[in-house]
Symmetry: C2
Subunit: 425 residues, 2 copies
């Protein structure tokens, strides 16, 4: 299509793309696991010798200045042989996972002999909207192919050359394995209105998955006519309960805050139970400060920790994604739970405790996708939790919650076998 299409050209382009994805999804839904794996392994093999992809990536990097990307963003855009190697390993891992399509999830025989099987099926067509990291292009396509779904990829315009090269490689691999190349579609126009058109096509697209900043996700959730799999942000808490082992608590607090502060499952707020605050907080604060963490405390915290600056009210509702931590001393477990359910984002929250009853009360009452007991919030991740590669994390309660991998990209149907069964009154 042309560089600056009219609205009706754009609409026609998007409709054609979604229709081709729908047709391809019907074919992919009944493709054998063998064939899907062959296509994935072929893509992995080609990526191992992908001069074309690296050259395209160079073009994107050369143009990065035009888009005003920060150094961190340019780094995320860059494909190195090492990163390609990780992408290849990712594809191979997806290929090695069991096929979720046709898998019998549960099964029963009724007293009248009717056999009822609940069997995995693909959702249909996915729309994936994401930002600059080009490795995500391949991860998402691999999960989609394996789960029998067609996917429409909408990456950032700053990664367009790289995404085009990766897309060519993926569709080539599909074609070589007699699978429909339309099963992986790339939105090639940089025009932002394209997303608006696609979000209205609920007859052709079954699910949209936005991954990026909160503003992007809110816009998608607002406009989409189809279900959205999402989390807005991760305001994750660690609550140090009064029976906690201090060494353990300190290790987990450090890990949750510092191991990778820029991700959604990093801790943003530390809650400490009042009776142990004077003993625990100064030592924890010292090691956090050593690691360069800025501490923003409630008034009581500031009295115990001279290095802390006073937290403003909004600090307890902020996803810092940085070496910044809000700290609050709470009267008891109920107060911690109340704070988390009010200020948290339903993503990941942890309790450090040696008290069984406290652990059980906390895990039952905290209304988040993952609740950790004596473990770092950083473990909320499909690979770490043994679910395999994920396309994102959901904080919604409908359909899928937590890490979304192959299982969460499928639905099911009931297949019922009888021997001429008819229903009585």
């Amino acid at each position: 299509m042309s560089a600056s299409p009219t609205s009706s050209e754009l609409s026609a382009y998007c409709l054609d793309l979604a229709r081709r994805a729908r047709t391809a999804s019907r074919l992919l839904a009944t493709a054998s696991g063998k064939r899907k794996n062959d296509a994935l392994l072929m893509a992995a093999a080609h990526l191992g010798d992908a001069q074309e992809v690296l050259a395209a990536n160079e073009k994107d990097l050369a143009a990065a200045g035009e888009f005003g990307l920060s150094a961190a963003q340019i780094d995320r855009l860059r494909l190195t042989p090492q990163r390609l190697h990780e992408v290849i390993r990712g594809i191979r891992e997806v290929a090695a996972l069991p096929d979720p399509v046709g898998q019998v999830r549960s099964s029963s025989v009724r007293p009248n002999g009717l056999e009822v099987h609940k069997v995995g099926v693909p959702l249909g067509v996915l729309l994936f909207i994401y930002e600059s990291r080009p490795n995500v292009t391949v991860d998402a396509a691999a999960l989609s192919i394996k789960s029998g779904n067609a996917i429409i990829l909408r990456g950032g315009r700053e990664a367009m050359h790289t995404n085009r090269a990766l897309h060519r490689l993926l569709t080539y691999s599909l074609r070589q394995c007699d699978l429909p190349e339309d099963a992986v579609q790339l939105v090639e126009t940089p025009d932002r209105a394209a997303v608006g058109h696609l979000l209205k096509m609920n007859d052709l697209i079954d699910l949209v998955i936005p991954r990026g900043g909160e503003a992007l996700i809110r816009r998608v959730a607002e406009e989409a006519r189809m279900p959205v799999l999402k989390h807005y942000k991760g305001i994750c808490h660690v609550f140090v309960e009064k029976s906690a082992d201090f060494d353990r608590a300190e290790r987990i607090v450090l890990n949750a805050k510092c191991q990778r502060p820029g991700v959604c499952n990093a801790m943003e707020c530390l809650l400490v139970e009042e009776p142990i605050a004077a003993a625990f907080l100064p030592r924890a604060a010292a090691v956090l400060r050593q690691r360069g963490v800025e501490l923003r405390g409630c008034p009581q915290t500031c009295r115990l920790v001279p290095e802390a600056i006073p937290a403003r009210a909004e600090d307890f509702d902020t996803e810092f994604l940085d070496l910044v931590l809000s700290i609050k001393i709470v009267a008891d477990l109920d107060a911690a739970v109340a704070h988390i359910n009010r200020h948290g984002s339903g993503h990941t929250d942890a309790i450090i405790t040696n008290d069984l009853s406290a652990a059980r009360r906390f895990t039952a009452a905290v209304d988040s996708a993952a609740v950790m007991v004596n473990a770092s919030t950083r473990f909320h991740d499909g690979q770490e939790m043994g679910l395999g590669a994920e396309i994102g994390i959901s904080t919604d309660k409908f359909h899928a919650r937590g890490p979304c991998g192959l299982l969460e990209l499928t639905s099911y149907k009931y297949i019922v076998y009888g021997e001429g069964h008819v229903r009585g009154e």
Copy 2:
């Protein structure tokens, strides 16, 4: 509230109702299974001696003329001691089902010793919009209480007296068992705008379940800001494949069409494979005509079956809900599948066959919530499929598909136990 509230009064009324439901849902979410069952059994006991409910139902029946109800609608509105007995049995069955909340759905131990449990949790607040049958009021409330969800009931205005009496009895039982009575709310105003207000409250209501005519469901799906659990209609097919046993096929065709023609899982269209059409269709048509079924056939059918009248194109897209059947002769299994995926509603479709390969191809390719092999479409039902009582059937692929009972009214969270685990690079 007053009989004709202003829009802002109505909005405030709905907001208050939804907020109270939200607060109650938090309490109900952690209530013990024992307490929830006690409340259900107490409601069942009170219904056994429910003069108040029967008297209220008499009032509704006396006013039925004002609403212009048909004889069939008045019959559905009527509560008899026999129907109350069925309602009571239904509550007891729900009480006897396992509690879906806190149930561990899957569990694994990671190589590093981290224990990952996937545990059932309630969705939160349900909005249930339905038409005149008052037994549905109790069924829905029972499923909701048992699954730990608060529910907002919006019944038909022609059943308002009955629903008020049932609602009083349900909230009384909740209160007596120390559960929040706000967990079951009744929208008491007949004003239709109330539904519009509630459908916008996606912060307070987690799921809406409309049950009724297609127009109602489309309106709800269009306006709702929260997920909708629904099926628009049931255009169900029976495909008689060329290897089918004719006696068996005839028995199933009769059952699927005639046993209860007014329900969503009744057959609306019969497909017959061409090679057996001349042998099978005349005998099947004869018994269907004996049972008073009007036959609307494709041209080829009309040549074989003189009693059939020519079908119009729209007959193949119509849910008759009556003793009317469309009939089409198809070239082969692929043509049957193509017809079903195009004209069906993704609800229930059956194949009658003795050919294993045909059964496997049909069940894999038909994209419907339930696919039957040698069994009547009438078996697509929560009780018949062993899933327990249902609040409705879903033809969507997101979250739940097919019969929706206790499991489908819940979500899950991950609870992860460690022993001081931190994440490495």
